[in-house]
């Protein structure tokens, strides 16, 4: 079962590479995504899935993240064929194959219980992403790809070093050294403290780079700004979630060792810094795709702050993981429609989108309200849960700063988004590709938005039980 989850997208990638038809190849993406979601739902019915002597385990935390990834991929992949049809002159072979490879590797991240294997999978997603960021073949996208590769590789290298430190913390205590997650959790109380502390710092910085936490976020605006919107969705909702999962795993080991008090303040500080940096750079941002990148920096910050606060905030953070991923889907895909309709992503050249692409612009506006934490959408509930937990724990300063940042971000983001959708429509540039909205342009972002609204009004029982189980895993209950 677990093998199938990892290998079937890989098989689809192989087929996508082999299929000669430029026109039919993109349809393999929703096909692969559908197969993956089907397998995932089948896997949900079975408990205690494990393979390869405990190397691959689908634990509750993995179930939660994998579910998000699967839905995110399927909905985004439905957007791909119509979007790729706008670029008939460009080969989409590598594009389609790499997307499926990424799906396979993120799946591997969620089920890997060997920390070395997890590292290999995360590095593989980083590398497979590089050609996709460079899809537009311009000088600017080249620059974005180079920065992404270099900063990402260094971050990933640091996290490998952190994994080694963790393994050494067992050697230092004369234990059998191992990078199997279960072994580390079991031996956690005996791990050598200096090594464990150093390991956690390296891992937080390393995987934090991949997540895009400030101040290691500098690749993010460039990559999100230059990559196609579809790729932005997978980066902001998928890859970052995978990196967050990795940080959670190491946080679990720290907690098991009784060192949560060491990890928590660092996570809160890093998260608040990310939110502040995002707030500063969002104000007067002229490029609306870069704006979304900073929004992603902000929400990654919210996630680690939530875990750092602890208690019910962990529930809030995991719920926010779902909300953020789905809202980012709506944001990036509707922004991509607007970008293609105007041929520009500069706020100065794009106004009155409601007149030109009414559905996409309305979705973009709604997604903006959702991501900034307005009711009745999902992110409101999760952010509210985190703030309430902070106040309940007596962390008033954290709660106050958190709320302040949310207001700053709302104002900063609104200043760019509102003029963009309202007013008289500016004429499109001649290289604008999208002349009118079709079903496949608007249905995927609409589906994302509906899910975000649903999570705000009513959390289905199976989702809430997934969340509760995942929280129990993190808290080692």
């Amino acid at each position: 079962m677990l093998f199938a989850l990892v290998l079937i997208p890989l098989a689809f990638a192989g087929v996508a590479f082999a299929v000669p038809s430029q026109r039919w190849r993109p349809w393999l993406l929703p096909l692969g995504g559908g197969a993956h979601l089907g397998l995932y739902l089948a896997a949900l019915r079975q408990s205690n899935l494990s393979a390869l002597d405990g190397w691959l385990v689908l634990d509750p935390l993995g179930r939660l993240v994998l579910g998000l990834i699967s839905v995110l991929f399927l909905l985004s992949s439905l957007y791909a064929p119509a979007w790729l049809a706008l670029r008939p002159g460009r080969s989409n072979r590598v594009f389609c194959a790499n997307l499926l490879i990424i799906l396979s590797m993120i799946t591997l991240i969620t089920v890997a219980h060997h920390l070395g294997l997890m590292w290999v999978a995360i590095e593989a997603t980083t590398l497979a992403m590089a050609p996709l960021i460079y899809f537009n073949r311009s000088g600017r996208s080249l620059e974005a790809t180079w920065k992404y590769l270099l900063i990402g590789s260094v971050g990933i290298a640091l996290s490998l070093m952190g994994s080694f430190f963790l393994a050494y913390s067992a050697v230092g205590s004369r234990l059998e050294s191992s990078l199997l997650f279960e072994d580390l959790i079991r031996d956690a109380p005996q791990l050598s403290r200096p090594w464990l502390h150093a390991a956690f710092v390296l891992l937080l910085v390393g995987y934090g780079t991949k997540m895009g936490l400030a101040p290691m976020h500098t690749w993010k605006p460039d990559a999100y700004g230059e990559a196609p919107g579809l790729i932005g969705t997978l980066l902001a909702g998928g890859l970052t979630s995978g990196a967050f999962l990795a940080i959670l795993r190491f946080f679990q080991i720290c907690s098991a060792a009784g060192e949560a008090a060491f990890a928590r303040p660092m996570m809160v500080a890093l998260g608040l810094i990310s939110m502040a940096v995002a707030g500063v750079f969002m104000a007067r941002q002229r490029d609306f795709k870069r704006l979304l990148a900073y929004s992603s920096v902000e929400h990654m910050g919210i996630l680690v702050v939530g875990v750092g606060i602890g208690g019910t905030a962990i529930f809030g953070a995991l719920l926010h993981l779902l909300n953020n991923g789905l809202t980012k889907g709506a944001l990036f895909l509707s922004a991509a429609n607007i970008h293609r309709a105007y041929g520009s992503k500069l706020a100065a050249e794009v106004t009155g989108a409601l007149q030109k692409v009414p559905i996409s612009a309305a979705l973009f506006l709604m997604a903006f309200f959702a991501i900034t934490g307005s009711p009745p959408f999902g992110p409101f509930i999760s952010e509210f849960t985190i703030v309430r937990a902070a106040i309940f724990n007596g962390q008033y300063a954290v709660a106050g700063l958190f709320l302040l940042m949310l207001v700053v971000v709302f104002v900063g983001m609104g200043a760019t988004v509102l003029p963009l959708v309202q007013g008289e429509a500016t004429p499109s540039r001649p290289d604008a590709l999208l002349t009118r909205e079709t079903f496949f342009n608007v249905a995927p972002p609409l589906a994302f938005m509906s899910l975000v609204l649903l999570l705000g009004l009513y959390i289905p029982p199976f989702v809430s039980s997934l969340l509760k189980d995942a929280v129990a895993t993190i808290e080692l209950r």
Partner: protein, 213 residues
């Protein structure tokens, strides 16, 4: 075992200084290739058990780090028609000083961490940290894309040395995976370097400055 391992680690540390001080790209690539070969030797020596597995990893590391990647980089250098790193952000003499400071910091840091008795007094950990820091310095202070890749390679070499001290924890599959990822990573960087060269007619990454706030 120590009698052979430590001198080899000293050679690696000397190569770090060589990398920091050289202006010629070919020399820098050769320096990192030499490090790769020594790492292969070390991997074969440090393994306690004798068998096909350590030899395979040692041979794989030496082959990829010592031959495949340098050949890739030399080819990229030739295509771009550049030979020297000119005008780095931090000059060569200050870089050497930074390298010396990095080595001192590594020695002190390694002292503060508890080590297993069999590795007490060994240079394994300080050499690893110093090499990682050297990689960092090269990566952040040089302008040419190829030199930055050499810096990244050096950083990876340092992490590989660290990996030698926890061999039991790293199963064969993962070690091969790490090497494969490194190879693919450099390969992808090589392709991007090629594109940078065509797009900007230069490998100077200071040209990559269109994207900023």
């Amino acid at each position: 075992m120590h009698s052979v391992v430590d001198p080899l680690l000293v050679v690696i540390l000397l190569l770090n200084f060589f990398l920091l001080g050289t202006t010629r790209l070919r020399a820098a690539i050769a320096g990192s290739a030499a490090q790769g070969v020594i790492l292969g030797l070390l991997a074969a020596l440090v393994h306690v058990s004798v068998g096909p597995r350590p030899l395979l990893i040692a041979a794989g590391a030496a082959f990829i780090k010592g031959l495949v990647i340098p050949v890739l980089l030399i080819r990229a250098m030739r295509d771009a028609g550049i030979r020297r790193e000119i005008d780095p952000l931090v000059g060569f003499i200050p870089s050497l000083l930074l390298g010396a400071i990095a080595l001192a910091v590594s020695l002190i840091f390694a002292q503060t961490l508890p080590v297993v008795p069999s590795q007490a007094g060994s240079l394994l950990l300080p050499a690893s940290f110093a090499t990682v820091l050297t990689g960092f310095i090269v990566l952040t202070t040089r302008r040419k894309a190829i030199t930055q890749v050499v810096g990244y390679l050096t950083l990876e070499n340092g992490i590989f040395i660290m990996g030698l001290s926890i061999l039991e924890a790293m199963p064969f599959l993962v070690e091969i995976g790490v090497l494969l990822d490194l190879f693919v990573g450099i390969f992808v960087m090589g392709i991007i370097i090629n594109h940078i060269n065509r797009e900007f007619s230069s490998l100077d990454t200071s040209r990559l400055s269109a994207l900023k706030e």
